[in-house]
Symmetry: C2
Subunit: 341 residues, 2 copies
DNA sequence: GATCGTAACTAAAACGATCTAGTACGGTGA
DNA sequence: TCACCGTACTAGATCGTTTTAGTTACGATC
């Protein structure tokens, strides 16, 4: 098979009658060549359909043309969250236009995540990374800074010091929307079935609910590990009480689904006797009966924004100022209603 | 910040008192160094925590340490299919043990997918690729062959000629399992609500259902575009008939969910009056009420197998023989039962 | 007319591996 | 003694870029 030889900068230089260095200057739009020569070189490169070798570039420490995304989750349960696919698809859709690749890795622990960043840095494999789920005392921004690896943190609150660029999500406003909506419907006994409290957004949401006590709302929080089993257990206990809450809010769609199932098993009518809502939307919430009221976040758009943000950060000498992610909107469906009088 | 210099083969060579070439031989386990020297070099490399530079390796045409996966789907709807996340997670879990990276790209068209392979090849960015959804007259295996890019095709039937390694899925056996199970429960009027007939597995499933006429089963097929809206319309029409079928089978979980919702809206009891089943499982099918009987495919495992297969293929001089993917099993849940007498 | 500055280049050294073509050396057989 | 062989190496080219340190040529300046 006549494997077609790759056309290199040297080939172009030869044909243009200049040195490889000049071609490099021309191709990268930097001074050192006359406008006339530049045009000639560009034309020749175009004619031969030249593409830079990203590996060669990466080797000399220039752009690798790839960004990295390390997902710190148990691999087995990753598929249960539509978030990732949507997010990645959005990231991709933005990167594709710039011909930038995406290297994806699923890591089981934080330590392995850090190790991945170090490895990527050493081999200059990626130009920047997307960091998900900021935590308290997060070691990642610090490491990335010391590695000199540009990054965008997605989620959480604005980073005060401008230490690292953050695409923050206004979780307080989001929680306000949901709990406020329920309070507006007359609900005064609201339960929040949350995921792990280690997550910043869980604490924020909890705070918002507690803040509603001023409006006469009695809030109650049950923490789970996000698993349907835990949610089922919590809900069974909850619905066995003498006095039921009038609304239950879940941290995500799968938890809400598990909750809904318990109401159906135990014969509690939704929304006549109990309203249900979720902080996370997906296609299924509209397909079940009754359909579930959700906070709808455009995760695809979030991915696009994150990628765009990172690409800009790569070209910026300084840490860019924070940006606010797309604001979620409330999608009212069948599972919520006025509190029974 | 004292950016720690990367330790290279040259450093190790210097300390060991040999040439860089010898170190390369030793590290890659090939002849040319004595066992004694090899051990000494290995020890020094280990002591300095040396890691190969994948970019340098890729440049000389050796391994890039990355495999590629181009998903040809509309990016926006990717998130609705849990398949991808599960599959990718499985691939990852296998690659991670070998320290091989995964480059992921979402492409809108077949032509762009082909272009992606060409680009990857040119820059030696990936060592091999995973190819999804084989089609009739698929141009991809041919291109990959001519590019000399190892690949594994996932899905479809065994490749007759051994032209390209295939991890095939036994869709006939799968369809047998589902339809046979329903026939065994006494169902004689079975409806199959399918996706686009362009897909090979749709045709196979249809064939299996039609084959059951020998056992007195009257099968009927409704083709949809996989969208919940179409499924809802089909189900409404179906359940408005004078004589209902006794079982409906859907191509995937979301379609089944949409179908279930219609039965609930129209007051058809499941499974007392109508049994429902799906060819595709996901976490939600167990969370709805009634939970849905599904063919459960271990997509995560499929991803692991695909990655393992590809890694083996990379080391093999020849095209490896086909393998059969994990066989799906029937998960019987609440949505199916004996036909009412 | 010597000096200077600048634009437009060139030459060559990186980057970190792999890989081919040698070479030195000890041993073997005739 | 010499040709020959195999082992254990070394030297140096190679991959395709980027980048630094020169080197021209040419016009402007004093």
């Amino acid at each position: 098979m006549p494997r077609s030889k790759r056309v290199t900068i040297a080939d172009i230089a030869r044909q243009a009658g200049v040195s490889p260095g000049a071609v490099s200057f021309a191709l990268n739009g930097r001074p050192g060549v006359s406008e006339e020569t530049r045009q000639r070189i560009l034309a020749i490169a175009d004619q031969h359909d030249w593409r830079p070798s990203s590996t060669a570039r990466a080797l000399v420490g220039a752009r690798a043309g790839v960004i990295g995304f390390a997902v710190n989750r148990p691999a087995r349960t990753l598929g249960t969250e539509a978030f990732f696919t949507d997010f990645i698809a959005g990231v991709q859709s933005s990167l594709a236009t710039q011909r930038v690749g995406l290297q994806l890795v699923v890591v089981p622990t934080l330590e392995e995540e850090l190790e991945t960043y170090r490895r990527w840095r050493r081999a200059n494999q990626v130009d920047g990374v997307l960091v998900l789920d900021p935590r308290v005392d997060d070691p990642r921004p610090g490491l990335l800074r010391s590695l000199g690896l540009p990054s965008i943190t997605i989620g959480g609150q604005p980073s005060q010091g401008g230490e690292h660029a953050t695409l923050w999500l206004d979780d307080s406003a989001a929680a306000d929307t949901v709990f406020g909506y329920l309070a507006g419907l007359g609900h005064r006994r609201i339960v929040y079935v949350s995921g792990a409290a280690a997550h910043e957004h869980v604490r924020l949401r909890r705070g918002v609910l507690e803040g509603l006590s001023a409006r006469g709302v009695h809030g109650e929080v049950f923490e789970t590990d996000y698993s349907p089993n835990r949610v089922t257990a919590v809900m069974r206990a909850l619905l066995s009480r003498a006095e039921l809450p009038t609304a239950v809010v879940f941290d995500n769609d799968m938890m809400a689904l598990a909750g809904l199932r318990v109401t159906q098993e135990m014969g509690v009518r939704v929304p006549a006797e109990l309203s249900l809502a979720s902080f996370d939307d997906s296609i299924v919430t509209g397909l079940v009966h009754p359909s579930i009221t959700c906070l709808t976040r455009d995760t695809f758009l979030l991915g696009e924004h994150a990628a765009d943000f990172l690409l800009e950060q790569l070209n910026a000498p300084e840490v860019l100022p924070d940006r606010r992610g797309p604001v979620p909107t409330l999608t009212v469906r069948e599972s919520t209603g006025r509190v029974p009088s």
